[in-house]
Amino acid sequence: MSQDTQVRTHLCGIRTAWTDASEAGRAVSEIAAALGPAELSQIVVFFSSDVCVETLNHALTKHFPGVPVAGCTMSGGISPAGGLARGLVLIAFPMAGFRIVSAVLDAIDHLDVARTAAAVRALRRTLGGEAGEPPQGGRFALSLIDGLANAEETVVSAIAWALDGIPLVGGSAGDGLDFREATLLHGGAIHRRAAVLLLVETDYPTQIFKSDNFEPTTTKFVVTASDDERRIVYELNAEPAAREYAMAVGLDPEGLSPMSFAAYPLAVRIGGEYFCRSIRRLDPENGSLSFFCAIDEGVVLTLARPRDIVAATRAELERLETQLGGIDLVIGFDCILRRLDAEHAQGRHGICDLYRRYDVVGFETYGEQYRAMHLNQTFTGIAIGRRLLP
């Protein structure tokens, strides 16, 4: 095994492995060797966009024959050893204590909501065995959604409708801020413009969570021209969007970068609460801004500013630890802009410390799902507790 491949076994039997090697064949064979023969119910894998997905798919099929695999591209990995700029992160669920079913949703940019809901209900039935049979343990759902298909709201609404209260968390697959293509793996095949849903039933206590770290200012923008389908805002306050935003935050419109978007997030106020609506990128051609989430003409955006990201994240993880009576591991979905924010605020080290302390595994996203919501600039996930349910 090379120096850069690591494996960790958690108390619940889940094993996590990660490597910053991008050569998929070698990475998977090393991880397979480190894991050894084991009865696995599911493999979930997150990989950077420079990993050859065909090779990866082939290697996983070869080294884990018969084990269902779900995965997606990431914009950075999260491992119990800290963050990974590239490589792959793998979660191996044991047979004992975890019953997992999954489905892929294709062509999510033209999603048939009714059919999606029916598919999710069918999935629930598969997990539940006979109809009406009570679940054996706690349940949760994980979503992996193409973060460049501009479809998370529709997907997550359809799924949540059919989940009927089963808590859902997930992340949007990205490509490390290249904004070209996200890729998903499911059932031994490669999927694009797709989403993967996993339904997990476990004997261990679990708790979903979301954490953010911003506060609103008094600066407001009204979206006056936009392309809803493509999540592009052309105008804010009847001015070119990039210029109006840059002026408000005191930056040069040409100099706007993901780092600026991380440092000066925008938020909408709904139901008395603020939710970040993160800017994906600046189009220098027309001065428009595209978003990681649905936008609409007439939406009022409030300029926000980040608070201490490390303190906010720590508080949430501590709360979870108390609530669960000890965290075994966390499967987390952390916004790529939060990493930039942490780096900017010199908080990256503190965040990596928290990943280590609470054994967080996951990836950096283009958006996070939490119940029926598609969020931005948050850290969502599921914490698995140390106790076996009675």
């Binding site: 479809a151 609404s157 009847a238 919501m373």
Partner: protein
């Protein structure tokens, strides 16, 4: 005066108009049923918010219910544990107390049997009475704890009040006469529905209490009909109870402030038992009193529609000592006297003889025989049993008493099918034995008329 706006203002106005248009369009779209991707997000949050607040509300409610439930369960368990341990403690304590008490009574009766001077005899009598009081107290406490623990289950049936009340009056007549008080029963010609044992106990306690606090005049046991119910009233011309004390008289160990001239003051438990038994029977209990004039305690009991069952007369004999006809043959007058007094206290009808000749002459048909083994002139008490077998063809249950612990007598008694009780007799043991034998006899053979 108005002219065209300057270019800057015109631009501002144009911008504001467009912002306004965008906002209006958005507001209108958000009213539409057809949802955009953004409105899906908005809906999700609103739903999430509603679900969360509802969930929080329900969770909060559930937790508070859980908390109060837990507290209630804990309190209930604590109370039940306390009650159980109280009952257990009382049962254990009364057992432990009755043992040395029996020993003390044995010693006391042995002492009384010695040839003593009159002073010593008086002291011995006092000791015996004191021990009797202690035994009563313990038994009463045990009864109270049983009532409180809910292990007493009334056996409800028609009861002829005349029998019950006359019997009680008769048993107190001696006490009343001793204090120069009248004791009458009026209007008792009724049938009621109750547990005769418990009802008898209630009335006895009330009468005993009335007599204790009455120094002149008397006590009247009156029955008044009120439709489907009747009131059994115990009316005295005693000192009465001041209003402040009325709620207290039913408390355990409460004794009236009024001085009693009784040499044996009450234990203060009588009315407390009365109240518990009345509650267990569902008979309302009421108290009216005029200080200096007297007190009336009334118990409301349902009237029985049924005619008196033919077993009504026999029933008491089968289940308890009230009215049981017990024949005692004992050559020692003091022992005979003591035994007779004891049995009469239990409301039995007692016939005492010194020897077989007396028994033969009386020609009675008792329910039970208590025979002393060693009679005068070398006679044996067992001859009395043989007499009954020869003349009546049937021997009632027999208890043989003797101070002789020899095996020969034990064998002889057993051969007769009789029970052996060694002297000095322990009242509790005797009572238990009597009850058992009478119950057995009533069960196995039809009653015999006298």
């Amino acid at each position: 005066m108005s002219g065209p706006p300057d270019p800057e203002s015109a631009q501002r106005i144009a911008k504001l108009e467009r912002i306004n248009a965008a906002l209006m369009a958005h507001v209108e779209r958000s009213m539409d049923q057809q949802g955009s991707a953004y409105s899906l997000f908005q809906t999700a949050i609103m739903l999430e918010g509603r679900v969360r607040s509802r969930t929080e509300e329900l969770t909060g409610l559930m937790h508070s219910l859980e908390r109060s439930n837990t507290a209630l369960v804990a309190a209930k368990e604590e109370a039940e544990t306390a009650n159980r341990s109280k009952t257990r403690f009382l049962a254990a304590a009364s057992h432990d107390l009755l043992q040395p008490l029996n020993a003390a009574r044995l010693s006391a009766s042995a002492l009384a049997d010695m040839s003593l001077g009159p002073d010593a005899r008086a002291i011995s009598g006092q000791i015996e009475r004191g021990l009797q009081t202690i035994e009563d107290l313990i038994k009463t406490l045990l009864d109270i704890s049983k009532l409180d623990a809910g292990v007493v289950h009334p056996v409800i049936r028609p009861v002829r009040l005349a029998d019950l009340l006359d019997g009680i009056a008769a048993s107190f007549r001696h006490t009343a006469e001793g204090k120069g008080l009248r004791l009458h029963v009026r209007g008792a010609d009724r049938m009621v529905v109750s547990d005769p044992v418990m009802l008898g106990r209630i009335v006895r306690n009330l009468v005993s209490n009335a007599l204790r606090y009455t120094t002149s005049g008397g006590v009247l046991l009156a029955v008044r009909s009120r439709g489907s119910v009747c009131r059994i009233e115990v009316i005295d011309t005693g000192c009465g109870i001041v209003p402040a004390e009325r709620a207290l008289v039913f408390e355990e160990f409460y004794r009236g402030q009024a001085e009693t001239r009784d040499c044996e003051p009450g234990l203060g438990l009588g009315l407390s038992i009365v109240q518990r038994m009345a509650a267990a029977l569902g008979h309302p209990l009421a108290l009216a009193s005029r200080p200096g004039h007297g007190t009336r305690v009334s118990l409301t009991v349902p009237v029985s529609a049924a005619a008196p069952a033919p077993e009504a007369r026999v029933g008491p004999v089968a289940t308890r000592l009230t009215g049981a006809r017990i024949l005692v043959v004992e050559n020692d007058p003091a022992t005979a006297d003591a035994l007779a007094r004891l049995l009469r206290n239990w409301d039995a009808e007692v016939f005492v003889f010194r020897d077989l000749a007396g028994v033969a002459a009386a020609d009675l048909r008792p329910d039970l025989l208590i025979l002393d083994y060693h009679l005068d002139n070398g006679a044996c008490g067992l001859a009395v049993a043989e007499h009954f077998r020869d003349t009546a063809g049937r021997v009632p249950p027999v208890i043989v008493t003797t101070a002789d612990h020899g095996a020969a007598i034990a064998a002889e008694v057993e051969a007769l099918g009789a029970e052996l009780v060694h002297k000095p007799t322990r009242p509790a043991q005797l009572r238990a034995l009597l009850t058992a034998l009478l119950a057995e006899a009533a069960f196995s053979s039809p009653p015999t008329a006298c």
